[in-house]
Structures are given as structure tokens and as C-alpha cells.
Symmetry: C2
Subunit: 338 residues, 2 copies
């Protein structure tokens, strides 16, 4: 089969990789219905994270089980499944408490920008739907594999409640789905921080009540203005830079909550500022597996449509264009059809 391989900054190739096969008896092989490019794929694509060797790309996926290892019992050939970008056994103490992305046996899933994918720890990682869903639901189900679960975790970590005032830092796909999550959780007011018209539009569609275009100190001042001078109850940090993290912390009221899911790049928090900010801080790689059953139900029942973040759909062999479009911010998120 052919799949996406990153060779270095700006150099993603669609090339022969050899079919994946069962390595461990707990593995499954999926034939993917759809896959996509993640905002986090752009860090190495932009040369910000180093690429030490040619790397098969992609970690978001859903599709039909093609083959399972001898130890797999909970999913079987022919089922439609969705899994997290972190494989987890779903039985260790970290998993049992709902932190499957911190599973004691966690393995990253890789190489999903391809027609076939090997998923380790299939029993713990994959969740099957009853029956094969209709094609129009595929984008929303695919989104549950990472980006929607990550936005949901940001809102959950930020303790969003029905009466909350929420601010979202970052207008990428995760930030936009953070807005959708906050709306789903009943937030009263949702302030999206964005300066791009198409993203502002989608943020409004997902439930944003206010848009703030300023960033940094000016962005913080705007949030304060909109919240009687005290800051938001809950702030979702969906970028991963120092500026975004400080913008999130400083936009939060005393005793409020910051949920951070942007993979940190060079972020350092000064103990003293954090101390006097009096915020709650929680985040990390989203435990997507915890949320999958609930989010699948919401999608299948038509209550949640995160697939709207895919504003570009391409055949898999045009994966290079998918990266370029996202890098240049021409697309929010690109879906790829094998």
C-alpha cells in the first residue's frame, strides 16, 4: 500500500510503505474509511519539531476491522470501529480512572494516513458501532478519534458548567471543537479568540457568543472587559505556545479553570505568577478513549456534528496538498479518503 511519510520540513511524500501486519496477538488491522491531518502534524511539517528519520504520518482513523490478533476478543472482522490516537489496555489503574492516554502500556498509533492501519491493544483501544454507519456520518465519527475528544477534554478539564463563561484560545480545529464542547456542556457564554473570518463563522455556528480578535495582553484585556473585569470561569488553551498559555492563564478569573490541550512547545510557567493567579490547571494528551462511547452516541443520534471542521476533502494520494492547505491556513482541517 501507499501512505504518507514525512522526510523533513515541508517534505511529505505519498509512497509505498508495505502493508501493516499483526505483530502482537493484541493487534488489529483496520481498512480505513477516512483519515486526516492533525494540527500537531504541522509542528514537524513546519520544522518546529525535528524529523530525525522518514516518519509514517497520521494518527486519526476510523474504519472496518480487516484482521485481529489471536488474543483480541472485543472486536471482530467486519465491524466499524473508532479508536484513540493513543492505544491503551483500558484495564491498568490509569485507564480505570479515565486517563487512558496515560495508560501504563500506552503506545502511540502511527501511520494512519494510509488505507490500512495496525492498531495495538485493540481490545482496549477500539470502540465498535452497532452496524456500519452511513457515509455522511464518517467525518463526524473520524473527528472523535482525536480532535473532538481533545476539544471535549479541554472543556472538561476547564470544568465547563451550564452557567460558565468560557474563553477559547486557539481557532484551529481543536479550539473550534472546544467551542462546540462548551456549548454541548451548556455554557452560558462562549468567547472565541480568532482573527480569521471563516473560523469565526464556524465558531459562531458551534455556539460562540462573542469573538475576540486581539491576542496577548490586548486579548486578555478584552476578555476582562467582557467579564466585568474578573476574567472567564473556564479557559481552553488549544495552541501550545508560551503566548497562548499565558493568555489563557491571565484570562481566567481567581479560582477559575484552565484546560490545556495544545502540545507545549517551549512553554515554561513561572511558579510565582501561577501562585498569585489562583487558577486551576489541568490538561495533557486527551483521554479520548474515556469519551468515545458517549461521543459516538451523540454523533449517531445527530446531536453532535464535529465533522464540520473538515472544510477540505481530498483523495488520500493528495495528502501533500492537505498539509499545504492547512499550513497556509487555507483549510481548517483536511479529511483524506483512501
Amino acid at each position: 500500500m501507499r501512505g504518507a511519510v514525512l522526510y523533513g520540513a515541508g517534505d511529505v511524500r505519498f509512497e509505498e510503505r508495505g502493508n501493516p501486519r499483526i505483530v502482537e496477538p493484541t493487534d488489529a488491522i483496520l481498512r480505513l474509511s477516512a483519515t486526516c491531518v492533525c494540527g500537531s502534524d504541522l509542528w514537524p511539517y513546519r520544522g518546529i519539531s525535528p524529523v530525525s528519520q522518514p516518519t509514517p504520518m497520521g494518527h486519526e482513523y476510523c474504519g472496518i476491522v480487516e484482521e485481529v490478533g489471536s488474543a483480541v476478543t472485543s472486536v471482530k472482522r467486519g465491524q466499524f470501529v473508532i479508536g484513540s490516537f493513543f492505544a491503551s489496555d483500558n484495564t491498568c489503574p490509569s485507564c480505570r480512572i479515565g486517563y487512558q492516554s496515560g495508560c501504563q502500556h500506552a503506545e502511540p498509533v502511527g501511520g494512519a494516513q494510509a488505507p490500512l492501519l495496525r492498531v495495538p491493544l485493540a481490545d482496549g483501544t477500539l470502540v465498535a458501532t452497532s452496524g456500519v454507519p452511513s457515509d455522511d456520518l464518517i467525518p463526524s465519527l473520524l473527528a472523535l478519534s482525536d480532535v473532538m475528544g481533545t476539544g471535549w477534554f479541554a472543556a472538561d478539564a476547564a470544568n465547563v458548567k451550564p452557567d460558565s463563561t468560557v474563553a477559547v484560545v486557539g481557532d484551529g480545529a481543536v479550539g473550534l471543537l472546544g467551542v462546540l464542547s462548551a456549548k454541548q456542556m451548556g455554557a452560558e457564554r462562549i468567547i472565541a479568540m480568532s482573527r480569521h473570518a471563516s473560523r469565526q463563522k464556524l465558531a459562531r455556528e458551534f455556539g460562540a457568543t462573542d469573538i475576540v480578535t486581539e491576542r496577548g495582553d490586548e486579548g486578555v484585556a478584552r476578555i476582562k472587559e467582557l467579564t466585568k473585569g474578573i476574567g472567564a470561569d473556564a479557559v481552553l488553551e488549544c495552541v501550545g505556545t508560551q503566548e497562548a498559555m499565558m493568555q489563557a492563564i491571565r484570562s481566567t478569573r481567581q479560582g477559575g479553570y484552565v484546560g490545556y490541550v495544545g502540545v507545549p512547545h517551549g512553554v515554561e510557567l513561572k511558579g510565582e505568577e501561577l501562585f498569585y493567579a489562583h487558577v486551576h490547571l489541568h490538561g495533557g494528551p486527551a483521554p479520548v478513549r474515556r469519551y468515545l462511547p458517549k461521543l459516538i452516541d451523540l454523533v449517531l443520534s445527530g446531536k453532535l456534528n464535529p465533522g464540520k471542521v473538515f472544510d477540505l476533502t481530498l483523495p488520500l494520494d493528495q495528502v501533500g496538498e492537505a498539509y499545504r492547505a492547512m499550513d497556509e491556513r487555507r483549510a481548517i482541517k483536511a479529511l483524506l479518503r483512501p
Copy 2:
């Protein structure tokens, strides 16, 4: 009157300071029943925090109202009162949500190592008992002014619950009262980190079930050993150094909680480590005022005896010896009688 003034590292003097007087109509003047030396007083005494000018010392207090300003309505002359080390109006949005130490009009209380003390924002800051308590309760009531409320906040911020496994980093008075707080909140297991026999003894008396003498990476490894390899549910950071903070974060299980109350000195948190640790982080200057009514009830009803942390009692004019004894760790905490 004479009171304690810090001139520089190791140089605390008991000298004439002039009686405090009402400055704002919202002030009260108290005649103190007792005061004490705080662990945080040792930072400038040890020369770690700079002392730019002679500074009246002390911020823990309880006593009898001697005089009130014209705008004070909730306390009156002759009442016994306790207040926080931060004066707060108790009406601003931060106060109303329970973060009085982040009050929009917060003022630090200073110069309490003296017979008389001016307390700003008396209505918001002071809580009166019904009647004047008996002398044997004074140490425990004094402790509520800072050290007990701070230990309580550490446990509260660390989300201690009846079935929690708790670890406490720091065996100063705050750490020991963190142990007492965790016990009072019903924690199942409480691991105190201490290498001093007298402090270990008091930790046990306060409810510690285990003692860990190791520090740093070895301390973390010991906590992991005692918790099936996963770490504690709740960890209280009661020191304020980089080592203590990292020890706390690394001793916490995935999804667990760190409550930090040690005033940070040079602490810097790497975003990446925090991200993958998956802990909840909350802390800061304790909103003692929030807890005062409840903690006063617990002391007056004999259910809480935090006064045990005072293992040295001296007349106020021996304040220099109080600092020396705490600096040399001969005393856990010194109570001073004016």
C-alpha cells in the same frame, strides 16, 4: 509599643514602633492575645528574600477589638476576633467566589508581632467568636489566622476525599497541618514526607499513616512503591522550592491533584512535563477567610486542635529567639505572648 522589626538577614529587633492607629474608617485596632512566627518570615530572615528597609514583621493574629473606624459595622470593641493574613472586603467578585486572598482590594496585614495591630477592611477580614474563648484555645484559634487555613487550602486544592491516598511534601507547620486537614477530610491513607523525629511524631499524632524520609527522585520512588506504582491521589506541596514542587507533581498519579501553598522561590514548571503528568494543579495564597467560620467551629467544639504545632511559647520580647529556634529547626513553630 514595642514590636519586631527585621533589618536584614538574621537581624530581627524588638524595638519601639509607635502605636498603630485608625487610618481608614474601615480599619480596626486589635489588642493581640497571641501572635507567632511564620515559615514565610524565615525567607527574608535567611536572606533568601531581600529586605530593602527595616520591616515590621508578623501577619498571624487573634485578639480583642480595641477600636474600630467609623465605617466598621460587623465587629465592635471588646469582641474576640480572628482574621486572615490578607485583608479583604469579602464583597468583590473574587471574595464572593471564595478567593478572598485574591480580593480586588486585598491588602497584606503586617506588623502583627506586637501587642497592637491595625487590620484594614475590618468588616470583610475579621470573624468574631461568640464570647471570649478560654486561654487554652488561643493557640488553636491563632493557628487559623494563616497556618491552619493554609494547610486546609492545600488539602482542599488537592481534592482530598474520604477514600484518598494523600502525600504531604514539607514537614513545617503548614505541612503538618496539611496532614491534620487531610485526616479531618477523611483521607484513608496519609503519607508524610519528613526526616525529623519530632515532626514525624506530630505527623503521626495528626493522622499520618506512613512516613517517607527520602527526598527528590528517591522520595518519588518511595511514594510510587507505597501506591502500587501509580502515585498518590492528592499531594500537598507545602515548601515552595523547585525540588518540592517537582517531588509533588511526580508523586501524583495520572489524573490526581497537587495542592500547592508554599510561596514559590525560583520555581519554574516545564510545560511538557506538566502536560504528560496529567495532574490537576491548584494553589496560591490560601483564602483563609473562606474557611474561618468552619474552622473556628471545629476548634471551639474540640474537634480540631491545630495549636499543637506550637512547640515553643515565648514572651513577645524574646521574638529574636523565636526566629533563631525556627531557623535552626529546634522549634516547629513559635507562639509569642504580648
